[in-house]
Symmetry: C2
Subunit: 158 residues, 2 copies
């Protein structure tokens, strides 16, 4: 039987503090984090490796301002399905629509709840009428347009 390297798979306070700093700014150098938390750079490295292996860290992504790139409309969609059992098939088809940035299976009136980002109202109408309405199993949708995004952040750890 192969011997697996013994490893502490618990997340302690130091891990949380490292994550908190990097969630705000993923480009913070390890040496700076080390100085702030009063440990060595090597320790930060070891902890990060552990967190990656545990799957706690899914990756790092660049945050862009959609409006500056010509995406002016953010909308939320409540989607009614004919039958709940059609969810998986509907998701498979909805994944092909690039304007959908988030999709959830939810409790309440709707089966599916989605967030979509479009260039303008014409673009939104096209996506709704041509792309989304043609997905099999979708009965009808309700649309809410975001007029202002006042909060956009990550969870605050501990």
């Amino acid at each position: 039987m192969p011997h697996r390297k013994a490893q502490n798979l618990e997340i302690d306070n130091l891990d949380i503090q490292i994550l908190s700093i990097l969630m705000k700014n993923a480009t913070t150098p390890y040496t700076e984090i080390a100085k702030e938390l009063i440990v060595s750079g090597g320790t930060i490295h070891v902890r990060m490796k552990k967190l990656e292996e545990m799957g706690v860290i899914k990756g790092a992504s660049l945050e862009v301002d959609p409006q500056k790139l010509g995406y002016d409309i953010t909308a939320f969609l409540g989607i009614y399905l004919e039958k709940g059992s059609q969810y998986q098939e509907a998701v498979t088809q909805l994944k092909k629509i690039p304007e959908i940035v988030e999709l959830h299976y939810t409790t309440g009136s709707w089966s599916i709840f989605a967030k979509i980002v479009c260039h303008d109202t014409n673009h939104l109408r096209e996506v709704l009428n041509e792309n989304i309405q043609s997905v099999s199993g979708i009965q009808r949708t309700e649309t809410f347009i975001s007029l202002e995004e006042s909060i956009k952040r990550q969870i605050t750890l501990e």
Copy 2:
């Protein structure tokens, strides 16, 4: 009158391609992007600096798996305000609740639409009853719990 350095403030195809690569993986080295797009590393650097100055790039953040950190519940909240004019004051108070990760001023039945992340059902109940209901101007809320997050991605450029 001070002379401001002449600079091209338009976003061309090269910028879009750089952003596309970095939005998928913010840790991609500049040299690798340069090789892929057949330009020099220096050019990537100049373009990135321009995009940062333009405010197109808001930052880079680490993506974590909330469930692995003990945050098991994602919920959406439709919030009714007594008067629409109370929006700004409500937002100021809602910003102090760390569990709220996203908040929009929307068209439709509700004035405010929010996304919140909690540890468990008890935690959710606490946030709803104690924190959110005590914000001035809030009449009532409707809650939708996400049972599955099937899509979570950024906009696809061009």
